[in-house]
Symmetry: C2
Subunit: 524 residues, 2 copies
């Protein structure tokens, strides 16, 4: 390990009370490196990893973000490498006696005049893309729907230039599941609400097998009337349902033909839609991080947090999520709750998740991955502090249970597992029309249903993955840009992407991950 | 409901002691229909549904397969329609004091001289197809692997005519999971063993992200050495691993290029393979049913059971599965156990599954679907009796836990959930090289990894889904063929399909469902 010629060694300390700082330099710093303030590294320290700024005795608290993120498991003299092997993790914060609303903040000053070009829906939501979604009740129909989608893309879509894409909403749920078990409500409402995502224009069609447990009536909205395909165009709130086991289907081609005929009626309707000027307050942004490293909480996530504040100031909706990544900062969240009801709901979701993990003989420590640790995150407490900063600084206005749909604007905690694809799927169900994803180790994440803006925590990653990363937040670590600079850049990019003026890297490459349902219930 | 002109009314009684029989006629039978034996239908009865053959008082046992499948919830005079609304379900059989080996059968007479043309593998298994599989450690890489697979199929595969297909083994596991929770062993060993399926020629390659929990080392076989791509051809037992986060990757195209270069080396090796004459004893057949109706247990499943006996007689391996569909016949299975150890293992798997369902506040009654009931199956007890007949009549030689790989031949109970895709995925992991799937309601089921032979329980379905159903077992109900006839037809078809002389409907249409892992552990 050697410092590149001309490069100055850089340590980043988040808070003046912290007794560790992280190495910013690409490739880390070699043993013996002398820092300007007189500190000398006792050993080589990789990029993103922590260095002791003071002598720590065994048992001393390790402070980062002005929070205890661990305890020294052995004496760690000033200049030592502080990692998961030489520290222990703090116990989980109990859910009793949490501060409620103590950090209630005066509403942030309104931010006015920002707009984007979106698709207005009859239910009041606004889409950022104009997509034909084909919902499914059960995995049995997946093969048929994939064939149909491929043919629609090839044969029909080119004739409807105002429609961005055709997407099959495939999943492994629907049958072979205990659909009346308590946990089953989550996947059922998730599928129900995903079909209502703002980017689908309220004109969803459903392909059903016929004999599955998740019958179309159960999948659809209360009040929505499933009509069989071929009975004329679905009206507002109606849904076209194609049932493969229906007698009308004679062989595979007749199934495909029926789906394509129905799709064409929907494409005609969607093709007539036009973008209109909409207030930035119509944005519904889901923020998430994956493949995190120690820079996530220093560069990308604080910049996303700054942008989240801008969105909240503009009257928009911002969802942050990932239960196990906020669990250790629950007191920070309840302190920011706008009302006691919001604090109660936060605690309710954390308690439910504690119980869910405990039933599976796991706990929040199961969250951190080998890559997290390699990237400098010693444990879930440290990871959580870096994750929560994505939520910015405003009051928390509401809490959503997994699979539920948004009913209000502002900063919302959408309770989800931290698993990238399960979180993304649940944020889609909540009504997200734009997705921000930060990554330190690097992931080619993408969703077919909404644009995903990917933010790199390090410039090295942004350079190497030049066509996979939309924003380089690593410039914050090197001093080339401030958190505010990148935050504003992100905010403006969101308006451009939402308007269709710019495509994200994942859109250009057509990189899409499959939906992943959260099913806490058993399979049968 | 009217009986078609020239059609005679047909009731099918499975066992002389049964007090119900089912209506065989397409479209069911109208009220007032007079049967040859003097019985008159008191009401209209749909196809596949039960008719009382004797007067049943409230509380009387309803017998089918000479087993109590329910109790009359009200008086049911002779000629009544007997369905789930007028019956109650028997309590679950306890797992204590089961008969062990009481029905031990003299080994069936050997069946010799049957062969197929297969691909011999170094580990002693035999493939029925010659497939390049690209395994994955985590869902993050899915978008990249999908792009690579599409390009390999388009640009490389046509140059390697002896290779049947390129398949990405994608899944939603690998990260965001509690990988050290007790339940996690199942998905981990499932992925490990799927990569070793006989149809992949022992030359699997792996695409990894880099920071995931399911590191390639953890996915791979004990003893297998993961080598990074570009370090030369993998030797026996070695696996080529491409890690997207590795420094060598500069942008998306370099990832695709790397995967394609590695794939080409594997294709060259696979292309040199040739089919050889193999004994029918090398077949590893997984049997399964889905979208069942009352005919499943009368036509298709008994024919599959007859074929299963032929396979066992030929020295082959037959796996039957679906825990909740054998639970109510566990005493029949323990009675057929070849050894006390097999009986113990059967009870162990049932007890584990009872506990798993109970933790999720569900029980075996969650198995039956609306389509099952519409098709005439009143409850899981009746469904189970019709499902178990797929296993034929021989001794049960072994039991596999979910995700485990076969270690012996003969008739094996592979314990899996009944969910079609989870069961298929676990049978793939066990080492299945041919799949038999029976269906009454109809499902376009298919897997990319092995040929799937689909057997229709009713001629009406076989006629309508003419290009989706490989075998019409409905001829058994109409008297056009015997169980033995269809059983032999299936056996011969298996040899043809295994040899590549015939393609299945799913292969011709390229109908494939996604893998679905069984993960009893929590996500984080």
């Amino acid at each position: 390990m050697q410092l590149a010629a001309g490069q100055a060694p850089v340590l980043i300390q988040i808070h003046p009370q912290d007794n560790v700082a992280i190495v910013a330099n690409d490739g880390g710093l070699p043993a013996g490196t002398a820092l300007p303030d007189g500190l000398t590294l006792a050993e080589a320290v990789p990029q993103g990893h922590k260095v002791a700024l003071r002598d720590l005795a065994q048992g001393d608290a390790v402070r980062r973000y002005n929070v205890v993120v661990g305890y020294a498991a052995q004496a760690l003299p000033r200049g030592s490498w502080v990692n998961e092997r030489v520290t222990t993790m703090p116990a989980a914060r109990t859910l009793q006696d949490l501060p409620v609303g103590t950090r209630r903040i005066a509403p942030l000053p309104p931010l006015e005049g920002y707009t984007f070009q979106g698709y207005r829906n009859a239910d009041g939501t606004v889409g950022t893309r104009n997509i034909l979604a084909i919902s499914t009740t059960v995995q049995c129909v997946q093969g048929v729907v994939e064939h149909a989608v491929a043919r629609i893309r090839r044969e029909l879509l080119p004739r409807y230039p105002n429609v961005d894409q055709v997407v099959g909403l495939e999943h492994t749920y629907g049958c072979g599941v205990a659909i009346d078990a308590p946990g089953a409500a989550i996947p059922v409402r998730t599928l129900h609400n995903i079909a209502r995502n703002p980017n689908f224009g309220g004109a969803t069609m459903v392909v059903s097998l016929g004999c599955e447990k998740l019958q179309p009536e159960r999948l659809l909205a209360p009040g929505a009337i499933p009509i069989r395909a071929g009975q004329g165009m679905a009206g507002e709130g109606d849904v076209d349902t194609i049932v493969l086991q229906d007698d009308e289907h004679v062989g595979f081609e007749s199934m495909i033909d029926n789906i394509m005929r129905t799709a064409e009626r929907h494409l005609e309707k969607l093709n007539q839609r036009r973008r209109e000027t909409c207030s930035a307050s119509e944005l519904v942004v889901g923020v998430q991080c994956g493949g995190s490293d120690a820079f996530s909480g220093v560069t990308a996530n604080p910049a996303v947090g700054f942008a989240a504040d801008l969105l909240v100031r503009a009257g928009a909706t911002v969802m942050f999520s990932e239960n196990t990544e906020v669990r250790d900062g629950i007191d920070q969240l309840t302190a920011r709750a706008a009302t006691p009801e919001v604090a109660d709901a936060l605690v309710r979701e954390m308690a439910w998740y504690d119980d869910y993990l405990q039933r599976g003989h796991a706990d929040r420590s199961a969250n951190t991955s080998p890559g997290n640790k390699k990237g400098g995150l010693s444990n879930i407490v440290e990871k959580a502090m870096g994750s929560i900063v994505k939520s910015g600084s405003s009051n928390i206005d509401g809490v959503l249970s997994p699979g539920d749909r948004l009913t209000r604007k502002g900063l919302i905690f959408a309770a989800t597992p931290a698993s990238d694809f399960i979180c993304g799927t649940l944020q889609l169900a909540a009504g997200m029309n734009l997705h921000i994803f930060t990554t330190g180790r690097g992931t080619p994440y993408g969703l077919a249903q909404v644009p995903v803006i990917k933010v790199a925590t390090r410039s090295d990653l942004a350079r190497r993955w030049h066509d996979l990363m939309d924003v380089d937040a690593g410039r914050i670590a090197t001093g080339q840009a401030s958190i505010e600079d990148v935050g504003w850049e992100l905010f403006r990019l969101m308006l451009d992407v939402a308007s269709g003026r710019r495509q994200t890297c994942a859109e250009k490459l057509k990189l899409h991950n499959a939906l992943a349902l959260f099913n806490p219930g058993p399979v049968t």
